[in-house]
Amino acid sequence: MRRVRGMKAATLLLAGSLALAACASDEPQAGGSGSGGGGSSSDELKIGLAFDTGGRGDKSFNDSAYAGVEAAVETLGGTMADNVQTLSPNDDASNRGELLTQLAEQGYDPIIAVGFNYDEIIADVAPDFPDTTFAQVDGSNADGAKGDNVTGLLFAEEQGSFLAGVAAASKTETDRIGFVGGVQSPLIEKFQAGYVAGAKAVKPGITVDVSYLSPAGDFSGFGAPDRGYSVAQGFYQNGADIVFHAAGGSGEGVFQAAVEAGKRAIGVDSDQYQTAPADQQAVIMTSMLKRVDNAVEEFITSFSEGSVEGGTDVTYDLESDGVGLSESGGYIADIKTTIDDYRQQIIDGKVTVPTTP
Amino acid sequence: MDGGGPERYTPPGPAVFRVYRLDVARSRRGTAPGPDDLRSGGPSDTVRHHRPGPRRETPLNEPAPLAVELRGITKRFPGVVANSGIELRVRRGEVHAIVGENGAGKSTLMKTLYGMHRPDEGEILLDGAPASFRSPADAIAAGIGMVHQHFMLADNFTVLENVVLGSEPTKGIRLDRATARTRIRDISDRYALGLDPDQLVEDLGVGDRQRVEIAKVLYRGATTLILDEPTAVLVPQEVDELFGNLAELKREGLTVIFISHKLDEVRKVADAITVIRRGTTVGTADPRTTTARQLAEMMVGAELPTPQTRASTVRDTPVLELQGVTVAAPDARTVVDDVSLTVREGEVVGIAGVEGNGQAELVDAVMGLRSLTAGTVRLGADDITAWSTRRRREGGLGFIPEDRHRQGMLLEAPLWENRILGHQTRPPAVKGSFIDRRGARADTQRIMREYDVRAPGPDTLAMALSGGNQQKLIVGREMTARPRLLIAAHPTRGVDVGAQSVIWELLKDARAEGMGIVLVSADLDELIGLSDTLHVMLRGRLVATLDPARLTPEELGGHMTGGNTVGAA
């Protein structure tokens, strides 16, 4: 028996060393593709991008921010590999502070933090690196409390959502529509407030079903397609025929429910029609665009021109095309005039959109 | 049997003395313990039973050829010689029993024969030709099949699926059920196994499951079957059925090797018997001419002890009084019904009964592990009915549980922690709220010494000990606390004969010193031999009180089955 056990151990060791050997043989090939922002001359552009939970590939604001960096770098003649370092936080995002600190220590400038969760962190880190320029997507620095080297990149989500509400109310046949929020946070409540206001502006008697997938503090609602599916399914069964989601990755479930119910849905952040499979394209009526990519691109461009002000916010609204509605698929072409009419009224200040429900 | 009469041998003395004497006795016979003993080829001549001349089991006909022959098989494990110089000759077409105590080396031997490990010395001959097995697969290929004590069947598969599992007949990649079904029906009919190939195993009883295991082995073409303690899991009626099946196998010319330590069964079913003791074969016996007692003495290497008690030591003071104790099972069925009894100082009160008649529940009730629906329990002058188990233990209740693995030991804990178990609130194992590790270790060592617990040391895990040594540790631990009343439930169950007599002696000594003992047992000799008073329990009630001095096991058996409720003595 002892011999058998010895052999087992030997086998394990062998397997282990084989694995190591296999790894070692990969060395030259892997070595090349490794480091991102290696050599640093001071005039070279070194952009640091710190994601929020979800990181790259969330098909939502993280990816959108990445796209913005990509566009800016391309315009400025750099490459992602040479000029950009992206960092994702760990699973519980407890190391956000370290992300910013390390980027700053490694000489990255500007540094863009994605998400309002960086609010306290950036206020803590930025003052330690006064020579570095920071920007925070979805985070306000209107009063300059986070330091005068921080720019807040904000969006008038309620304005875009208002138009989504207008579109939904114009298109509904049951006078009942739905809203699925990812996490019940002030940010997502802005979407809800605008959407409901827009719908009521068109049809004052309309019913809007509202549901959030997770309570404040629990971010699972942005990554739970199963919950998005069941909530949307419930809405459709109760008679709603259009559901707007502001639920990040959970929106996938909302679209699926729409496909199965033969009803329609409204996407969020990016033009989700473009990235959806064919069966879902048939139900994505429009998407409420939140152009994080534009904002990030613009910020980097102005940084390279040396025109970043700092200690203040830049707000992207309907007027600056920071938010809006997508028209892919042509499902809302027939109501374009209605939508444009409301857009103009908002831009002109004739309609004020609430930010809280 | 002379019950409680006077006897010639008296000295009670401390346990130390007795154990010391025990060693002397052993060395006097030239069988000092230790592996050397095994290497030197077994015990001395005084207990050797190999007989010269022709074998007696086939006196009339020409002896059948040998199906299996083992010559000088020795198997060593690090530091241990599990088998040494094993000689075994099994003739074709016979039921050959291998008997020996637990730990005598039967299982090691069978694993050798089944190819689960290879012997260090010696040879295996099958039908006269040398054979060498690297794995059970080789053994199966050579026609040897093993029916394990614990069945290896998948419950939610049918009989057919279980039988073919691992050697499925296939048509392409599909299981060829038709062929399999035909073959299983053939086997079942031929050996009268009575199996329905399409029944689910989970619907089968234990006996049927065993027949599935046998069919499985036969399906693979075995001509020699090894049955490892096949009756351990069977009720008497199933045992008879099994023996019928074995007769069928024999009639068809198959060879059966039957491992057991139940001597009566062996004598009933076997054509020849080989006895194993301490890793080696000590002789063969003819079941027709050998008594169970003779067999047992061959197994043990000495004449058997009996549990005779000494002169009555019963005093007047009651230590335990049960008044109308009634216990209900969770399903509200009354399992202990209005039981009243008294145990006095120095008295052993035996409780006899077929298992499952409420003895276990009664013991639990006295220990405070089950609540009463009616009645009172008094320990000495105290009414302890409402006391917790711990308080009862502190108040002087000792407990040797029926199932030591379930209630008596922490198998994965060292011996010294097991020493503490049940005595968490008393020195020397604890000081205040803290465990006294040193004290516990020292006291464990003392118990090991005084109660002859054979283990490397107090840090050994309890599971490393044989059943007998575990039980001796429990007895030692409980005795150390000097309880006023000891509840001994099946105190010698599953322990070897040596440990059995040590435990009996300890109980007798404790009784002599004034301890009251409640003895629950299924061993009628033990009950009759040790008890001063004997109650019979049937369906939760005490149906008879008997005087063990004037009682035979047969009479007691009659009472236990309710056929003979004569009552009071």
């Binding site: 480091s35 995002a93 002030p186 503090g217 | 006795a25 313990p33 301490r278 004449e303 922690e417």
Partner: protein, 386 residues
Amino acid sequence: MTLLRRTGLAVFAPLLAIVVALAISALVIAVIGENPLTAVRVMLDFGETPSQQTQAMVVVVNRAVPLFLAGLAVSVAFRMGLFNIGVEGQYRLATILAAAVGAAVALPGPLHVLLIIGVAMAVGALWAAVVAVLKVTRGVSEVISSIMLNFIALGTASFLLTGPLRGSPEGASVITTSDIPESGWFPGLNGVVTGLGLAEPRSDLHGFLLVAVVAGVVVAVLLTRTRFGFDLRATGLSPSAATASGVDARGMVIKTMLISGAIAGLIGLPDLLGTSHHYGTEFTAGLGFLGIAVALLGRNTPVGIALAALLFGFLDRAAIPLQFEGIPASVVTIIQGTIVLAVVVANQVARQITRRQAERGSARAGASPTTGDGGRTTDEREGARA
């Protein structure tokens, strides 16, 4: 089998598991086209300047402290055979209530901190007690009830945060409770760090480290040296044997869950008292579940859990430098996952080896002198037979 060999096995099994897990992870890294050796180098590289190096160490320890407490909470219950999955809910609820109480009162320094710690432990314990009471009185499996109570706890915490305990201004993106005044902060240990001749790190070393160490020592002593700990472990090893020995199983369930919950209540405090000073929507979640992994890895002993927590902290820290080398941070998660899996397997194997060795030991004890003998003289036997 000697004690030494047994401990050897106890240490060897997790070590082997870690090696196997690292080999698997190396394979994964190689498969995604990166160099495993780079990964190893990055993990071991704590930075260039002394300040960066101490900072890296502080990051590791700061991460390890809550993980250790979480593992400890899980392990106490586990030693008794209870699977407290509710640690997550226990600490979240405990932290928010402790934060609220801490913000609502003003007391002199040490008292203020003690009050917060006391509230957190009490809330954690009470929440865990619900599980215990359900188990003892209704026989509800603690696994089921603690999972369910997690949902309730998270929901309640959210409700409290967005409702009565909201301290952040209306409209702020991050919702938090009010800040605890400075008297309720736990001082950092950077003075000690610099006192040891190390460079001043950027972040404060959590002073709560001391509390964690004390908790670990108390639990270790409680489990291995006290009667209570003996009863607890005995119940874990064999509930039936423990009951027969006089242990009050129901009482033990309640007491154990109270202790487990009280420790769980501490998990959020290093962060609450050391850095954030309020509970909010961005407060670190999921530590309760990580604690299960840490406890498994640490084989449920305080020392093991401390090592496991440090290992997790170490791996966690590497996530950022790995990304600088172009290796995705999820590699760290993969490593942690494979380690835990490998350890579970290795523990099982070690158990079987121990068992087999023990059985061999019994074969030895059985093979030589099992038979013993009656210990009776010939006279006696004849007397008995007569």
